[in-house]
C-alpha cells in the first residue's frame, strides 16, 4: 500500500517537474520586462538597451525596458525582488543596488543576495584618475608624491558613490588627504575640474574622453586590474599601487526561485552577445569591459564586492542611513 501511495505521489511531482521543464522549453514565449534602476540615457541604461536588444534577437523575444531610478537603485531592486519568478521580470543592477546599498541603508527593503538569483555579469566600469591641466605631475607616481608633499591642500570632486569610493580608496592606500567637494553629478564635477577649481577626481571614461583628447584634462591611470584596450597608454593604478582594483559593474539578476533552466537560457544568450565583436567594440570604445560570467561566478563576485564596498565606503567616511 505504501508503494501504491508513493506511486500516486509521484504523479503530481513528475507533473510539476515536467511542467517546469516545459516552461523552460517554451521560454521565452512573450516579451520580458527588464527593470533598469538608472534614468534613461545614463550610460548603464544605454548598455542595457544595446545588449538586451541583441540578446532578445537570440532568444526570439523582445526586452521591454522599464526605467525605475531612485534611492540608488533600491526602488527598482525591490520591485524585482517581489516579482513573479517566472523569468519574465529581470533586473539590470549595479554595484549600488546589489552591493553598496547593503552598507548604505540600515534597513534595506530587499536582500541583494537572498531575494535574487544571479544570471550573468554585463560590464565592468573602471574609473580613470584624472587631474586638472596645470597640475605638475606626469604620471601617477609623481602625482602621489605631489599630493603627499601638499598633504591636505589639494581638492577633489565626486559626483556619485562610485567615484567617491574610488578616490577614497586611492587616498587611503597611498596615504594622503585632500579636501572633498561633492557634486550632484559627474559632469558637474568635470566642469570644475576643467576650470581648475578642483585638482583631481576619479571618473568614468565616458565623461572625460573628449577632454582627454583635447588635452584639457590629463588621465593618469585606470582603476581596473589591467589596461583598457581603448586606452593602451594609460597604466592601471595597480602598477603603482599593487593589488588595486576598484570597478563599478552592472549585472543581470532574476528574482529568487526563478527556475535554473530559465536562468541558464538567459545566461547563454547574454554571454554569447557579450562575446560578440559588435558588443565588445561598443563597450571598449566607451571605456567599459565586457563581463560575461556563469551565474555562480557572479554570485561569488557579488559577495566579494559587498564586503569590498562596505570597507571602501566606511573608509570614505560615508555614514549608514
Amino acid at each position: 500500500m505504501f508503494r501504491g501511495l508513493l506511486k500516486i505521489a509521484l504523479v503530481p511531482v513528475s507533473l510539476v517537474a515536467l511542467s517546469t521543464a516545459a516552461l523552460a522549453q517554451a521560454y521565452p514565449s512573450k516579451p520580458i520586462k527588464l527593470v533598469v534602476p538608472f534614468s534613461a540615457g545614463a550610460i548603464s541604461d544605454g548598455v542595457a538597451r544595446f545588449v538586451s536588444d541583441r540578446a532578445g534577437k537570440l532568444l526570439g523575444t523582445t526586452f521591454v525596458i522599464e526605467n525605475k531610478a531612485g534611492a540608488n537603485g533600491s526602488i527598482g531592486a525591490r520591485e524585482v525582488a517581489t516579482a513573479e519568478p517566472d523569468g519574465y521580470t529581470l533586473i539590470v543592477s549595479s554595484n549600488s543596488a546589489h552591493a553598496a546599498n547593503l552598507y548604505l541603508y540600515k534597513s534595506l527593503t530587499y536582500d541583494p543576495v537572498k531575494d535574487f538569483v544571479p544570471v550573468t555579469g554585463l560590464t565592468q566600469n573602471p574609473h580613470l584618475v584624472v587631474i586638472r591641466s596645470g597640475l605638475p605631475a606626469k604620471d601617477l607616481k609623481e602625482f602621489i608624491a605631489y599630493a603627499k608633499a601638499n598633504d591636505g591642500k589639494l581638492s577633489w570632486g565626486t559626483g556619485n558613490s562610485g567615484s567617491l569610493a574610488n578616490a577614497s580608496a586611492l587616498m587611503s592606500k597611498t596615504g594622503f588627504k585632500a579636501v572633498k567637494a561633492s557634486y550632484k553629478s559627474q559632469p558637474q564635477a568635470v566642469v570644475d575640474l576643467l576650470a581648475g577649481r578642483i585638482d583631481f577626481m576619479t571618473v568614468d571614461y565616458f565623461n572625460v574622453g573628449e577632454h582627454m583628447t583635447a588635452g584639457t584634462l590629463k588621465a593618469l591611470a585606470v582603476t581596473s586590474k589591467n589596461r583598457l584596450d581603448a586606452l593602451p597608454n594609460i597604466p592601471p593604478v595597480a602598477a603603482t599601487v599593487p593589488g588595486y582594483e576598484v570597478v563599478g559593474w552592472i549585472a543581470m539578476f532574476a528574482p529568487a526561485k526563478t527556475p535554473e533552466a530559465i536562468v541558464g537560457k538567459l545566461n547563454k544568450a547574454f554571454t554569447d552577445v557579450l562575446k560578440s565583436k559588435e558588443v565588445q567594440d561598443y563597450m571598449q570604445s566607451r571605456g567599459m569591459l565586457p563581463f560575461p560570467t556563469t551565474p555562480a561566478e557572479l554570485g561569488a563576485f557579488q559577495k566579494q564586492q559587498i564586503t569590498q564596498w562596505a570597507e571602501m565606503l566606511e573608509l570614505a567616511g560615508v555614514e549608514r542611513q
Binding site: G70, K180, D192, G209
Partner: protein, 499 residues
Amino acid sequence: MELLANLTHGFDVAVTPINLLYCLFGVTLGTLIGVLPGIGPAATLAMLLPMTFSLSPITSLIMLAGIYYGSQYGGSTTAILVNLPGEASSAVTTLDGYQMARQGRAGAALGVAAIGSFVAGTVATLLLAVFAPPLSKVALSFGSPEYFSLMVFGLIGAVVLASGSLLKAIGMVLLGLATGLVGPDIETGNQRFTFGAENLYDGINVVIVAMGLFAFAEIVLNLDHTEERRSYTKDVHGLLPSLEDLRRIVNPVLRGTTIGSFLGVLPGGGPLLAAFAAYTVEKKVASDPSRFGRGAIEGAAAPESANNAGAQTSFIPLLTLGIPTTATMALMLGAMTMQGINPGPQVVSKSPDLFWGMIASMWLGNAMLVVLNLPMIGIWVRLLTVPYRLLYPAILLFCCIGLTSLDNRAFDLYLGAAFGFAGYVLLKLGCEPAPFLLGFILGPSMEENLRRALVLSRGDFAVLVEQPISAAFLLAAAALLVAVIVPAVRKRREEAFHE
C-alpha cells in the same frame, strides 16, 4: 564669410526629406508632450530612445532636439490655458498668461507666446552658430561662488514676482526652500526630512509640486464658490494678438531673448531661471508694475522668449563641452553616445555636419512650431468654451496620467493631491505659489553651492566677493532688494499717514 558657408552646409544637411520629416515629427510630438501635463520631454525621450537606434545620428538628434524645444511651446499652452506649467520654466508664464485667459484673451496670450518664442529661437540659434565656443567658456567660468550669488539674486527676484503682499511672498519663498530640502544631502548623502519614507529618498519631483500647487489648487479654488471669484469668461476677444499687443511686446521679447540666451548657457541655469529673470526685469522697467499678475501681455511675452532662448542655448554646453544642463539634456547626451557621437570641445571641427546641421534644423524646427501652433490657437480657445464642470475632470485625468508616467508609483499622486490641498489653503490665505516654486527649485542649489564654495575656499567667506562674477551678482541682489523694499516702506508710511 565662413559663417555663411557653414550655415549653408548646415541647411544642406537639414533640408533632406528624411531630416525634415523627423524634425516635423519631433516638434509635433514635443508640442503634444508639452501640452500633456506631467509628461515631460524626459519621459518622451526615454520612450523614443529605442527608435533612435534605427536612425542615423544626425536624424535622431534632430528629432530629439525637436521634441525638447517643441515641448517648451506646448508647456506654455497649458500654462496659459489652465494654469498648469507643462514645463517648470512655464511657471512664470502662468502669472500673466493664465490671467489673460481668464479675461478672455487666451488667443492673444498664446499668440505672443508663439511669436515671442519664435523670435527668441531665431536669435538664439544665431548666437549658437556664431558664439558657441566663447559661450561655452562662459559656462566654464561659473563655479560654486558664482552659482550661489546667482541663486541669491534669483531668490530675491522671486520676491519681486509676487503681485501681492511682500512679506507673504518672502514667506512662500522660505517655505519653498524648506520643502526643497527634503531628500538626500549632496555632501554627506544623509537624508533630511524624509522620516524614513523610501519614496522621498530622492527628494520631491518638481513636476509634482507644480502640478499640485498650480493646477490642482486652481481647480479646487474654481469649484469653491464661497469665494468671490471672477468666473472664467466665455467671451473670447479675438483669436490673435492685436497690432497694439504686438507693438507692446517688441521690447519685452528682445529683453527676454537676451536674458534667456545668456542664462541658458549656464549648466544649472537654464530656461527656468531665464524665464523668471526676464519677468522680473519687465516688471521693474514697466511704467505701471501693478498690471503684472493681472494679465499684462508683457508678462507673458518676456518669459516665453526667455525660456525658449534658454532652451536653445542650453545646447551649447551640451555640444561643446559634453555637459548636460538638465535631466533632459542628459538624456540627449545618452542618445548621442549611443550613436557613437561624443560631444566635446572638438565637435565643431570633428563633426561639422552634426553641429551645423543641428543648428540649421533648430531654426527650421522653430519655424515649423510657429506654423503649427498659431492655427491651433483657434482650437485651444474653443476648447476653453467647454463648460468648466466637464473640463476640469479631463484636466485632472491628464494630470494624473502625467504624474504616473514619472516613476510609476501611486505615491506621486498622493503627494500631488497633498500639494493641491496645501496650494488651496495657501491661496485662500492670500499666498501665491510662484515664489514657492522658485524657492523650491533654487534653494537646494543655493545651499549646495554655498557649502561647496566654502569647502573649496577652506571656510573663507571672502571668496564670494573676491570672484568678480560672484560679487557682481551679490551687488545686483542687494540693489534689487533695495529697489523692492524702498517702495514698500514708502507705501507703508503713506498708509500710516492716511490712517
